[in-house]
Symmetry: C2
Subunit: 576 residues, 2 copies
């Protein structure tokens, strides 16, 4: 079953073979050059990865149904690069998903690769590097899709503000990757700063007057200047908020203002009102905010850390009620982020997210259930994250090409486990911490409905279980339910599942010691990553691969597979 679009657009473009049926859909062309550059995201100068000399990268703005063409030149010196269009399902264009070693070969230095894909659905998205830990090096930007010409969003607002959230380490990603791969293991620690639209302030606070012991930021340069959000009083604004953090789970609040959640991950949700929202890495939301407070004052937007002991100070932006000066400091202190371990608060927020009326319901039953136990393990002295005791290692040759060409040698014969022992005690460190590495490729049949049970567990240290936001490429899924402890699949667990109005998303969290059940329809042939969106966790193996009806994938552009075993096969005369 192909998911119907939530809002009927005047035309749909599923593949390049199918031409848009109406004049409104546009081709939007971008020419990008990715390079290392000096930048001071939090006023400390470091080297990061920028696009066209900008950080974050340029914002892509399009309308539903448009085709995006990004001609990407890799101007890094010795590193490959790819860009993933997070939340875009790439219907019919799996080779444009931008996952190195999965959907395409990394683009070599000095090479240009053109991403062409349709943004079929309005919403708040972003893009980012998906090779090594390049996302954490600053390779990201916003991708915003408006409703098609002549269509309307199902809610009203007067203006729009965009907040792309991230975290920032002073150590280079090269050192971070070596640390995480080292024996003995070296943890990279917490990020030095949180960034809003690529800007933060290290070692000082914009609101020091309200924060004990904090140093007031002095004059800072443009690259780390406070983010100012200009608003008019008594209007309603749509705040688009997305998180591309490497590690941090976040919470956002705006002093004295309520937030009405209306969109999650490019899908409309049943509106609900909150004081603050949790945002995990990979999430995006739209919230409506009405400027109904004392207009003589400005207000703080505060972004703080959840789920880990916060060693990173909050990021602040100024909600600037015009005509106040932007530099006028808010009279109120910034909102205080809920306690990092107040999971009741987090669950309360997450559980409130329901699909908006009109969202297609999930199929009533699934054809297959894949249960994925998330554990932290050891392998030969290295620390890994494992799924059903296999830690994902990506191959030299991307799956999409090698599976399409039937190069069996590129895959290990063993199929990964569909489930794990019911006897596994999720409340304790693994009794046998040893893990293996593997391909972790799950082969999915076309148009089958798949349930995924994500089971969290205790890490290697006692009494530690972390939040993991899992992100699925190529699809949205329905989040059927959450629970604490081990999922048994019994009547009580099944009773917790919501088949009536589960939200459609592309990222869903598992809470500590808890489980989450997702359902999706394998209706988009391709090879798709499904992984924890925390960059160091993915680096340490926390993911699986879904190889979905690869025989139905259309002709893969050669440029996408011009490396490794697929290049060899094609040079020997094989055909895609």
């Amino acid at each position: 079953m192909r998911l119907p679009l939530l809002v009927a657009v005047c035309c749909t473009v599923w593949a390049f073979a199918v031409r848009p049926h109406c004049a409104e859909a546009k081709a939007r062309h971008f020419k990008w050059e990715v390079s290392n550059m000096f930048w001071s995201p939090d006023c400390e100068e470091k080297v990061l990865i920028g696009i066209n000399g900008q950080f974050p990268g340029p914002t892509i703005r399009a309308r539903a149904g448009d085709t995006i063409h990004v001609e990407l030149k890799n101007a890094l010196h010795t590193e490959g690069v790819v860009i993933h269009w997070h939340g875009i399902r790439q219907i019919g264009t799996p080779w444009a998903d931008g996952t190195a070693a999965i959907s395409q070969c990394a683009i070599n230095p000095e090479e240009t690769f053109t991403y062409r894909f349709v943004v079929d659905k309005p919403g708040t998205y972003f893009y980012h590097g998906h090779y090594g830990m390049q996302r954490a090096a600053g390779l990201y930007g916003s991708l915003i899709v408006d409703v098609a010409e002549g269509e309307e969003e199902p809610f009203k607002y007067d203006g729009e503000l965009n907040l792309l959230l991230s975290d920032w380490y002073h150590e280079s990603i090269h050192t971070q990757m070596v640390s995480l791969s080292s024996k003995p293991f070296r943890w990279i620690g917490e990020p030095q700063s949180l960034l809003i639209n690529g800007r933060g302030q290290f070692n000082c606070s914009l609101a020091a007057a309200h924060t004990q012991g904090a140093k007031q930021c002095g004059a800072v340069n443009r690259q780390c200047a406070p983010v100012v959000l200009p608003v008019q009083p008594n209007k309603t604004y749509r705040l688009r908020v997305a998180s591309t953090t490497s590690l941090a789970s976040l919470n956002l609040a705006v002093g004295n203002h309520k937030l009405t959640v209306v969109e999650a991950d490019g899908n409309y949700v049943d509106p609900f009102v909150v004081d603050d929202i949790d945002i995990y890495s990979g999430d995006s939301y739209s919230v409506l905010l009405t400027t109904n407070q004392d207009p003589s004052s400005n207000y703080w937007v505060s972004v703080g850390v959840r789920g880990r002991q916060p060693k990173t100070p909050p990021a602040l932006a100024v909600l600037n009620y015009r005509p106040n000066r932007a530099s006028k400091l808010p009279s109120l202190a910034p909102p205080v982020t809920p306690a990092w371990n107040d999971y009741a608060h987090s669950k309360n927020f997450t559980y409130r997210i329901r699909a908006r009326a009109g969202t297609p319901p999930p199929p009533a039953t699934a054809d297959r259930r894949i249960e994925l136990l998330n554990t932290q393990n050891k392998m030969d002295g290295h620390i890994k994250w494992s799924i059903n005791n296999v830690s994902m290692v990506l191959p030299a040759t991307p799956y999409l090409g090698s599976l399409k060409l039937g190069l069996k040698s590129t895959l290990t014969a063993a199929r990964p486990a569909e489930t794990f022992s019911r006897a596994y005690d999720v409340t304790r460190p693994p009794a046998n911490p040893n893990t293996t590495t593997g391909d972790n490729v799950y082969v999915l049949r076309h148009n089958t409905t798949v349930d995924v049970v994500l089971q969290n567990a205790n890490a290697l240290a006692r009494d530690v279980s972390e939040v993991h936001p899992w992100h699925l490429h190529g699809h949205d899924f329905w989040v059927l339910g959450y629970g604490d402890g081990a999922y048994r699949g019994d009547a009580a667990d099944v009773a917790r599942l919501n088949l009536r109005d589960p939200p459609l998303r592309n990222t869903a969290v598992i809470f500590p010691y808890g489980w989450t059940v997702l359902r999706f329809v394998a209706d988009n042939p391709g090879v798709w990553a499904f992984h924890c969106h925390i960059e160091p966790h993915l680096h340490m193996g926390m993911g699986v691969i879904f190889a979905e009806a690869v025989d139905r994938v259309g002709k893969v552009p050669k440029e996408a597979v011009s490396c490794g075993a697929t290049a060899n096969a094609l040079m020997a005369g094989d055909h895609l």
Copy 2:
């Protein structure tokens, strides 16, 4: 004309198609994995590139005529890699020369590439990364070729000591590359340390007692422990010395000991005795040292900086006369490095290097003369080094494959200049500092004799002209002569050329404001880099390419050209 080997070996292997004719030549197999790792070369921990967990990489030891097989796995996370076998001519195997974008595609992460080549000539060589500035990240090691079984060196010695010299920066090469490419330009400064066999001591001296203001090194870890060279009294040792520095020109002396120079770059030279030797990046020497000093003492081996104001302290090693303890500090102070700008001293040493009797003389005349003016220039605000006003930029697709396949689109049509204006004033900054970038490919006809005039000049700043050691791949050349000022090619200049006993080398220096004339025979089909061996200078464009009788190159292994335009052509059915 193919160069005869200096010492007749029992068999020669020019290409894989030709089997060795005798039993003595061996295939030597190595399995290497290149990865980033933490290491403390000068007692400060940084991330470098190691091989099999070692730094420097493993020493290759072979006999003349042997075939080396290095199965190289790239275990870097997102960077390609290649390894160049410096001084090995790669007769018949140009695809094994290990120059990214020239002789082969960079090896992608997780991929394995096998280098197979014959070490046809005994001598002191080394290997190193040749992609971006990876050499400066520590990717190097020694390659020592003994005479063939049953043959003898033309000089006697009782033992052998190996010294691989390098310099070391604390800043990562990624930051260095961004700095050098930045606008405004950011110079990377002088290296923090000099290393001997990968070991140095930052911020302290092994011989502090003799050095005013220096701090004595305390206990240091194994990775940066002093290098100890154990010797017996009254014996003769062969010191093999090679320099793979990124920037520094070096001078080596051993307290109270004379040095007899016998080999340079894998070629025997007419022996001469000196107190110290200059070694430029890319050079290798063998010197004989007789342990004829007071045997109750140890002696310092000292390596200091030449040619630039030395901000990097000397590296020291201990010549340990057994049975003295290695830890017994020498009673004499370390030898003092000659003044950095005492070019008379440098020239005196360099000019004394003559070929040993029996070395083949150069052809009496050349078929072609290529004059290369070395200048520092500006391009769009970036600082570049240029040759005849073109700064080298390497293409996405390596030349060897694209020229072999005749993919003209990969080369600009313009041929680089063979000479430069006689009116150019080498004593002043360039009147017009603007440069362009280009391919700088010189096409050489098979078996022609080529003279190269390297002409140094003033840099951008007034009264600055630097030393540049130029290294030629795929050949040795005869160094016909050196001179000061502009080469005019007139009778006086020609009179300075030595056609009687010029040394054969693969690296030759141009002195400030001076010229150097080289001659070589284009008898080795392939595509060969010719460039300044100073890593930041090469990064800034200081090199040219010789495309030599590419139609005569044997079948290039597909693995070497499986990228870019060559991969596209081969996938479309073209044949190599």
